[in-house]
């Protein structure tokens, strides 16, 4: 069953001088439960594509459905609600809130977005932190954590709302190779445990091998799709 269906997606950024076509007639389908990577050099359109899928931006033309919802037609508030209920985000720079502990960072979307009661929040946050092996550091502030630990907390934050889809834009760009590899394995493990679809973008050839499906982008065009046989963790 398709979680995401994109048809003839075009995204053009208009500046005063020129129009930049970031995406050119991109079409694809992504199955639920996939562990998928968009790869390509800088400027190939990976981040633009993730932004469109994540309802952070709208295509100039084309159709895009996520979880059966025509996300192109969503208004600002509806898009925020849709993201809060269905999509988790992992950022290249982790983007943890500096004044909150690891526990509070993971709890944040449950408080501010899903408004769950305290007991359920606590239960979910502890489980999420345990899943990423960060339970012991739950009371630490972001500046007391290493890059890898921050990204683990970010993964827990993305998963704690039990989204259908997690989008990760260059999640390993700020990590050393070993940590990057571990983070990728962790994400895949989370996919296996929670049946959440993981889509990430990368230009790091060393970790592409971890993806089960790889879409290659170049100059805003989808060049190809490759399925890989990767042993599950």
């Amino acid at each position: 069953m398709s979680l995401i269906t994109a048809s003839q997606l075009v995204k053009t950024y208009r500046t005063e001088a020129i129009d930049v076509r970031a995406l050119q007639a991109v079409s694809f389908e992504i199955e639920s439960g996939s562990f998928l990577a968009f790869v390509g050099p800088s400027g190939s359109g990976k981040t633009t594509l993730l932004n469109l899928i994540g309802c952070l931006d709208k295509p100039t033309s084309g159709e895009l459905q996520v979880g059966g919802m025509d996300v192109v037609k969503l208004g600002r508030r509806q898009a925020a609600e849709f993201r809060g209920q269905n999509i988790g985000f992992i950022f290249q720079s982790f983007n943890l809130i500096a004044v909150l502990t690891a526990f509070e960072n993971v709890e944040y979307p449950l408080v501010m977005v899903q408004e769950l009661p305290l007991a359920e929040r606590r239960d979910r946050v502890l489980k999420a932190l345990q899943a990423v092996d960060m339970l012991e550091q739950k009371n630490q502030m972001p500046d007391q954590l290493s890059g890898g630990q921050k990204q683990r907390v970010a993964i827990a934050r993305a998963l704690v709302t039990r989204p259908k889809l997690v989008l990760a834009d260059e999640p390993t760009a700020n990590l050393d190779h070993e940590t990057a590899y571990l983070i990728l394995r962790l994400m895949k493990q989370m996919r296996d445990n929670f049946s959440t679809t993981f889509i990430f973008s990368t230009h790091d050839t060393r970790i592409i091998g971890e993806a089960e499906i790889v879409y290659t982008l170049e100059d805003g065009r989808l060049l190809g799709r490759e399925e890989r046989q990767v042993a599950h963790v």
Binding site: N51, G54, L56, D57, R76, R77, A80, E81, F82, R83, G84, Q85, I87, G88, F89, F91, S93, N95, I97, A98, V99, L100, Y108, P109, V111, M112, V113, R157, A158, T161
Partner: protein
């Protein structure tokens, strides 16, 4: 909402120095306003009580047109005995009146047998005068300080005149006046006391017994120039003036033709203008407080939004609704205002308490040794705090609105 407050407080604590500086600024403004209000109210109250209790009373009743020509103390504008009796009846029936004093006022010549000068004389019933103007005795610097000082044949002389004429207690003087018919009469009186002057009209008047005044003016029936009235609750002066006017109007059946005019102390004393200036200054100080709160909170919140653009992008991306982002920043501004107001309130109360303990005294005009006893009522505190909190919200609105309107994709790109 509690969680939003919790997060807002954590956000505020992240920039401790800036937060402390802002709270201190707001607190300083609150202290300035509250202490100013407390001290100026105290100053006003002291001066008003000084004036009303010394000679003016809270209210006065005159015959219509008398006050307009009061400088000449016109005897032909006195209240007739029947009108005076009507006024006395109305005053006795009014439950808010604590005491009143009927006066015959006239201009006269004051002679110590070597020199002569002019003087304004109040003929009064001593007991009534001392009841309506209880601070009268405090003005008597030398001589008898009781109502006995105004027994028949005695005179209280204003200090400036006594000094100028070289008169002292026990001296015999002559008061000469022209009556309504134009005939001149005089009476020998003994100085029973020297009256220190007070601020405003009547502060330099001499006092004699009302019977002596009638004798000098050859009055066969008691005509009254004015009634000075003290109230049980002086702060209700305007309402009592209204009710008394209506009451006096009823006496003669037609209020429009009533021969009486009721004046409050504020309509008779130039100090009311000083009181108005003090009130204006209070408003000005409050405007300054608004400016301080507005600028400090606006500045802090603009900085907060500018420094947290990526964070705003992150929380928006993970699904935080714009309305919640707006509330989050509003609560941050509100917290700064509330904290500043509370700190300022505590400091202001401490300063006011300190001023009451130290008993700061001051001189005003000829009046010396007035003691400031500032106090803050709940109303003043609520107004100042509500102002700070209201302005905090207004100041936070623009930055909060800006934060809530940020596109997450742009905010996430912010470096």
């Amino acid at each position: 909402m509690f969680n939003i407050v919790k997060i807002a407080v954590k956000n505020i604590r992240r920039y401790r120095r800036r937060t402390l500086l802002t709270i201190s600024l707001i607190a300083f403004g609150v202290v300035f306003v509250l202490v100013f209000v407390a001290v100026s109210s105290s100053f006003k109250d002291i001066m008003i009580r000084q004036i009303t209790n010394s000679y003016l009373g809270d209210l006065q009743i005159h015959r219509r047109g008398y006050v307009a020509s009061i400088e000449t103390l016109p005897l032909n504008l006195n209240l007739s005995p029947q009108q005076a009796a009507n006024a006395v009846k109305a005053l006795k029936e009014n439950p808010e009146v604590s005491a009143f004093s009927e006066r015959i006022k006239f201009g006269a010549m004051f002679s110590n047998f070597t020199e002569t000068t002019n003087i304004r004389i109040n003929g009064v019933v001593p007991e009534n005068e001392f009841a309506a103007c209880p601070a009268m005795s405090t003005r008597i610097s030398d001589g008898d300080k009781s109502a006995g000082a105004l027994a028949k044949g005695k005179i209280l002389v204003p200090a400036l005149l006594a000094r100028g004429m070289g008169s002292k207690v026990g001296d015999t003087v002559v008061i000469i006046a022209t009556n309504r018919d134009g005939s001149v009469n005089g009476k020998t009186l003994v100085i029973s006391g020297i009256l220190e002057s007070a601020t405003g009209p009547g502060g330099r008047d001499g006092y004699v017994h009302i019977d002596d005044a009638m004798e000098i003016l050859r009055m066969t029936q008691r005509e009254i120039s004015e009634f000075a009235i003290s109230l049980k609750e002086p702060e209700r002066v305007d309402r009592v003036a209204e009710s008394l006017s209506a009451q006096l109007g009823e006496v003669v059946k037609d209020p429009k033709k009533a021969p009486f005019q009721v004046h409050t102390w504020a309509e008779l004393s130039p100090f009311s203008n000083i009181a108005k200036i003090v009130d204006l200054m209070t408003i000005f100080v409050k405007v300054m407080l608004i400016a301080i709160v507005l600028i400090s909170i606006l500045n802090v919140m603009i900085m907060a939004v500018y420094e947290r653009v990526r964070e705003i992008g992150t929380i928006a991306a993970i699904g935080t609704l714009p309305s919640k982002i707006l509330i989050l920043f509003l609560v941050e501004g509100l917290f700064l205002g509330v904290a500043g107001a509370l700190v300022g309130l505590v400091a202001a109360l401490a300063i006011v308490l300190g001023l009451n303990v130290w008993k700061v005294s001051f001189n005003f005009g000829q009046t010396t040794g007035l003691v400031l006893l500032p106090s803050l009522d709940l109303n003043q505190i609520v107004v100042a705090c509500a102002m700070v909190i209201g302005v905090s919200i207004v100041a936070s609105l623009q930055p909060a609105f800006k934060a809530s309107r940020m596109e997450p994709i742009d905010a996430l790109r912010h470096v």
